[in-house]
């Protein structure tokens, strides 16, 4: 890891200012991706701006039929939260199955979605639940937020402050996990909200996305009968040592069926 300037800040405003002053700055949440990336010299920021002391970025609340989770809320805190367990139990379970306990004690919601690893869990939930990402500058809809592999709509000095999840009538997440890292080889989040059934898919392609063909087959109902007949574009699937494109396409359908069944 190359040396950098460590900047500890106490507010979103101070973090933004530190970023604007830095030559090539990066924000750090729990460091669970940032630090391994820097160790491998895949990133070598001039300044690391630690959001760990920004109290306004943590917290969980339910307001106007929305569950609002602060960006710096850890996976462990989401998993253990009675409020999340009651409002969106599938989200608490998702958080409780990210990585391992030590990673969950440091890793955060904001860091996970800002990083947008194509195998991360949260993006599937953000998309299927039709969540809104609140940043230091604006509100961004889930579908506009994730733009490509490790790419999001965030500008360099823009900070995710919270994510607002509309409360669903039913929701479930199923992941086929890599047995070593626990990342999703394929993960599918199904949610019924306001009479509409949405499907969020992660791990399968370069970018977390809405499974529109799967949604069409469901037709607004939590009935997986039509899923087997869906044709998915195999050429768009990731293919690596963990799973071939054909296998991933198959897994997307299996995970969708299981998630739909778990919603019932």
């Amino acid at each position: 890891m190359y040396e950098f300037n460590y900047r500890k800040v106490a507010s979103v405003a101070a973090a933004t200012e530190a970023m604007q002053q830095a030559e090539d700055g990066k924000f750090m949440a729990g460091g669970q991706t940032m630090l391994p990336t820097m160790k491998h010299r895949l990133a070598s920021p001039s300044d690391l701006i630690d959001l760990g002391g920004v109290a306004e970025l943590t917290g969980i609340s339910v307001e106007n039929e929305n569950l609002i989770v602060g960006a710096m809320t850890t996976h462990a805190a989401v998993a253990a939260s009675a409020e999340v367990q009651q409002a969106i139990p599938a989200l608490a379970r998702l958080a409780g199955n990210i990585g391992d306990p030590a990673v969950r004690n440091r890793g955060t919601l904001g860091g996970s979605i800002a990083n947008h690893d194509p195998a991360a869990d949260y993006p599937a939930a953000v998309i299927a639940l039709g969540a809104t990402v609140q940043t230091s500058k604006r509100a961004i809809s889930a579908e506009e937020f994730f733009t490509g592999m490790f790419e999001t709509a965030l500008e360099d000095d823009e900070i995710v402050t919270s994510v607002s999840f509309p409360l669903p009538e039913a929701a479930a997440y199923m992941k086929f996990e890599n047995p070593a890292s626990r990342y999703a080889i394929v993960g599918v989040f199904v949610a019924k909200t306001g009479g509409e059934v949405r499907v969020g898919v992660t791990g399968a392609t370069a970018c977390a996305h809405r499974g529109l063909r799967l949604e069409a087959a469901l037709g607004g109902e939590l009935d997986a009968g039509g899923i087997d007949a869906v044709e998915l574009p195999v050429e768009q699937m990731n293919s690596d040592i963990h799973a071939s494109a054909e296998y991933r396409a198959h897994l997307v359908k299996v995970m969708t069926k299981r998630a739909v069944e778990a919603c019932q």
Binding site: K8, G31, L35, M38, D50, G99, P101, A102, V103, N105
Partner: protein, 157 residues
């Protein structure tokens, strides 16, 4: 260089570190606490697990400077004059280690499980909760037994 100060195993310590100094490096190289191990560079093996403010963390994936002001417990903080900590004793009694490289991280993770899930742990809970700790020797069987026995012993003491 900046100065950091923290409490490690009940003692106030301080030292000079670079921004990039990892917490595990600070423990091992500045403080000579070499019980905390480094087994990977991908944050996956768990050999470096310690407790920071009562919670398990991978000390290879935290900067020393982030632990400024924190309360840190490492494997060296467990035994006392009376002998080994019940969890350490359980690893010994159940043959929960072979080479011992993963053991400090296993023991610290085990204590974190007890903190959250109590003294009666079933096998599947222990296996799931130890997902972040890799052992190349034992095949995990005796580690799981040791954690269950240690948890129980801690409840009785």
């Amino acid at each position: 260089m900046s100065t950091v100060s923290m409490t490690v195993n009940g003692e106030a310590v301080c030292g000079k570190v670079e921004s990039r100094t990892l917490l595990v490096q600070f423990l091992r190289e500045n403080l000579g606490l070499t019980g905390t191990h480094v087994g990977c560079d991908t944050s996956q093996c768990g050999a470096c697990v310690i407790h920071v403010n009562g919670k398990s963390v991978k000390s290879c994936t935290m900067l020393a400077i982030q632990a400024d002001g924190a309360d840190v417990t490492t494997i060296e903080g467990l035994a006392n004059e009376a002998g080994l900590h019940p969890m350490q004793q359980a690893f010994m009694d159940n043959h929960g280690l072979q080479c011992g490289f993963c053991t400090p991280g296993m023991v610290m993770s085990a204590l974190d499980i007890v903190n959250r899930s109590g003294h009666e742990l079933d096998e599947s809970t222990v296996r799931k909760e130890l997902e972040g700790n890799i052992c190349r020797c034992t095949g995990y069987h005796n580690i799981v037994k040791a954690v269950q026995a240690g948890a129980k012993a801690m409840g009785g003491s």
